[in-house]
């Protein structure tokens, strides 16, 4: 009877305790790793989601502007004007009356600008301004005119539309991401200071000068070195 009680009080053996501790440590390590990865993944997904949303907002504004811009408006000025970091459209569209213009107005004004200090892109519709949430390291706008690429364009002065407008975006993802881009074998041919843009798209202006699509692609290739044609690139 006493021997039996003594046996019950003996507890775990050293081996059992060590196995238990090892299992617990392994489980905790796995849990910590999982939690860390989950956090990183969530942060990356959130960042990508933000970038996608901002890019879509920017590209939608550009698509709409290029589709229905006017060369010049008597009241609002040039229809397509801008430089490497700013772009302004005057487009024919039904106004809602909440942008400083009358309701049902015939034309509306959309401006796109990159704030280099704040590293944000803003889209201004009349008096309403939206600042896109994704941080952007650089934005480049180029204008394909009949004589080739231009860094600035004014349809009122030119009395015509450009063939199209190219917008390239480099998102601000921190040094780690930039290093990852530089490690990309596809980017080896590029100078370190000019990695390929994260997003790039070419927008044709409806009613712009007629241009052979193959010629446009060729110009795009020439204009961007190793970066492939007018495709959107993520």
């Amino acid at each position: 009877m006493n021997a039996c009680r003594a046996h019950r009080r003996r507890g775990f053996s050293l081996l059992e305790a060590m196995v238990g501790v090892a299992i617990a440590v392994a489980l905790l390590s796995a849990l910590a790793l999982f939690t860390t990865n989950l956090g990183d993944t969530r942060a990356r997904l959130a960042r990508l989601s933000r970038e996608i949303e901002c890019t879509e907002a920017l590209f939608t504004a550009l698509e709409r502007g290029c589709a229905t811009a006017v060369v010049a408006s008597p009241s609002l000025g040039s229809g397509v004007s801008g430089d490497a970091t700013t772009l302004r459209f005057v487009r024919a569209a039904v106004g809602l009356g909440n942008d400083g213009r009358p309701a049902f107005s015939g034309e509306s004004e959309v401006s796109i600008a990159f704030d280099t200090s704040g590293r944000r892109i803003s889209i201004v519709r009349g008096t309403l301004a939206d600042t896109l949430s994704a941080p952007v390291r650089r934005m480049r706008i180029r204008y394909l005119a009949e004589r080739g690429w231009e860094d600035s364009f004014d349809s009122g002065a030119e009395q015509s539309f450009p063939v199209g407008i190219e917008v390239a975006l480099w998102f601000d993802r921190g040094e780690a991401i930039d290093d990852a881009v530089r490690d990309d074998p596809d980017a080896d041919a590029l100078p370190l200071s000019e990695p390929p843009p994260d997003r790039r798209r070419f927008f044709r202006c409806t009613g712009g000068p007629k241009a052979d699509p193959l010629a446009i692609r060729s110009i795009l290739d020439e204009g961007d070195g190793a970066v492939s044609g007018g495709e959107d690139r993520r």
């Binding site: 879509e56 939608t60 698509e63 709409r64 589709a67 229905t68 811009a69 006017v70 060369v71 010049a72 408006s73 008597p74 229809g79 487009r91 024919a92 569209a93 039904v94 106004g95 809602l96 009356g97 909440n98 213009r101 009358p102 309701a103 049902f104 107005s105 015939g106 034309e107 349809s155 009122g156 009395q159 015509s160 539309f161 409806t206 009613g207 007629k210």
Partner: protein
């Protein structure tokens, strides 16, 4: 006791978990629906722009027929793009007269609008139509007449925006479900209803100075001047016989005579030239420089109100033109001199209006609308897509070999703008009995007023100010153009209506 406490605690935890999970599910669902709606809008917009190009190509394919007085034809359905189990249909929306294309030359140009013309145009229409036309008269030159409502001085005058919209655009110009609800108005051809102003007036009436083959018309002034100077225009004048040449030369050399199509008619008929030949010469020659001449009205397609608004025609002659134009022979359709041969106008009256009328149209308006529809019965049973429609109003000029998109306007927000205007009108009514509607009132008003667009419409915040229709006025005085001043077309790709255009004085043949 202790068991009961544990049971309640477990139930509370389960309820909280369900609450959180439900919230997360709804948030994810809302994000998903929002993303789907944005993506659908993009696809619809792309499809509608493709439709604009297809419609322009369709007009270009019929260019010669159009320049010879024909009207474009073809199916309303432009294309159908497969979109998963459904498809995106891109259609031409019927204009006021029920046809997919409307002639811009069948409308009175805003640049020639005056009070007498307004009286004729608003015959049988609501008073608000007169107000809108008066506002256009006060704000010329205008780029387009599509934004008539915005031009109206309705902010403080309390204009009924709904009525203004109906008078300006008519139910046939509304979009999607709104149009379906008012389908009895579309295609009614104005038999009993007054047509909307957009069917009566245009800003794109400048006459392309090309003949029925699309070749630039011979500028008689330049041709005779060059010929006198020994220039190459001598060959161009060989298309006239001696009597015609003498008559036209006398016209050109007489500096005191007004030089327009009417003067050509008077000069030629005075020399015994037949009316059929006069039509031919008017088709191939002009006294106006440039690519476009002063606006003219297509008498074959214009509404009786538009015809009556032309100075020199009047109500009786307008009604007679409408009665006779469906009975014309093919030969008569090639010009406008049938007004004399059919005894609608005297020769003197015809000469007075010959420079303001035409028998054809090179500018055609259409609306392209894309919407998602079920491809078959099976897909009709699927969960419906967010209700959406995208549309563009477009005017295409086929006077050039390449069709020119003279006007392109995104009208997808037309229902939303209308809903806001309705909301503001109701809110201003509320404001009369109270200083300002509360947020709760505004929300209730929003849901009650525009349930069909409640998902996408702009919701006013307490700080939002109602839009005011108070565009600054410009000088209403429009000087009549001198006879040799160029008239430029108006269009989205043409910035300055008074800019210089290349001369058309080169020899024709």
């Amino acid at each position: 006791m202790r068991r009961g406490f544990v049971l309640i605690a477990v139930l509370v935890v389960i309820a909280a978990a369900i609450f959180v999970a439900t919230g997360a599910i709804f948030a994810a669902r809302a994000a998903s629906v929002s993303a789907r709606a944005a993506d659908l809008e993009r696809r619809l917009r792309d499809a509608a722009l493709d439709g604009v190009a297809l419609a322009a190509d369709r007009l270009a394919a019929q260019r010669l027929a159009l320049l010879q007085g024909g009207a474009p034809d073809g199916e309303e359905l432009l294309t159908a793009v497969p979109d998963g189990p459904r498809q995106i249909e891109v259609r031409l929306v019927p204009q006021w007269d029920g046809r997919p294309f409307a002639s811009e030359s069948a409308k009175l140009d805003a640049s020639v609008l005056d009070h007498a013309a307004i009286d004729a145009l608003v015959d049988g229409a609501a008073d608000v139509s007169r107000e809108l036309l008066e506002s256009v008269l006060a704000r010329r030159p205008v780029d387009s007449v599509d934004a008539l409502v915005a031009l109206a001085d309705g902010g403080d005058a309390g204009i009924d925006t709904e009525a203004a919209l109906e008078a300006a655009l008519g139910p046939a110009r509304l979009l999607g479900d709104e149009r379906d609800e008012n389908d009895e108005g579309a295609g009614a051809a104005g038999a009993s209803l007054a047509p909307p102003l957009i069917a009566l007036m245009t800003a794109h009436g400048a006459e392309p100075l090309v003949d029925d083959l699309g070749v630039s018309r011979l500028d008689l002034v330049d041709a005779f001047n060059e010929s006198a100077a020994g220039g190459a225009a001598e060959a161009s004048l060989e298309l006239f016989d001696d009597a015609e040449r003498e008559a036209l030369q006398a016209l050109v050399k007489d500096r005191n005579r007004r030089k327009d199509d009417g003067a050509i008619v008077t000069a030629l008929v005075g020399r015994g030239v037949g009316l059929g030949r006069v039509d031919e010469i008017l088709n191939e020659c002009t006294t106006e420089p440039g690519s476009h001449g002063i606006p003219r009205v297509d008498i074959v397609r214009a509404d009786v109100r538009v015809l009556a608004a032309i100075e020199g025609i009047g109500t009786d002659a307008a009604a007679r033109i409408v009665d006779l134009r469906d009975t014309l022979e093919d030969e008569e359709r090639r010009g406008t001199s049938w007004l004399v041969s059919r005894r609608v106008l005297s020769l003197e009256d015809y000469a007075a209006v010959a420079g303001r009328i035409t028998h054809r149209s090179a500018l055609w308006r259409f609306r392209v609308e894309s919407r998602i529809v079920a491809a078959d019965e099976r897909s009709a049973a699927l969960e419906p897509e967010p209700a959406s429609v995208y549309a563009f109003d477009c005017i295409v000029d086929v006077s050039r070999a390449e069709p020119r998109i003279a006007y392109l306007r995104d009208v997808a927000l037309l229902p939303t703008a209308r809903a806001i205007a309705r909301l503001m009108r109701q809110a201003s009514g509320e404001g009369e009995r109270a200083s300002a509607p509360t947020e709760a009132e505004t929300s209730a008003l929003t849901e009650e007023a525009v349930p069909e667009v409640a998902d996408t419409m702009f919701r006013p915040t307490p700080g939002f100010r109602a839009p005011r229709f108070d565009l600054p006025t410009v000088d209403a005085t429009i000087a009549a153009p001198p006879s040799r001043e160029r008239t430029a077309p108006i269009g989205r790709d043409i910035a300055a209506p008074t800019s210089s255009l290349p001369s058309s004085s080169s020899p024709r043949r």
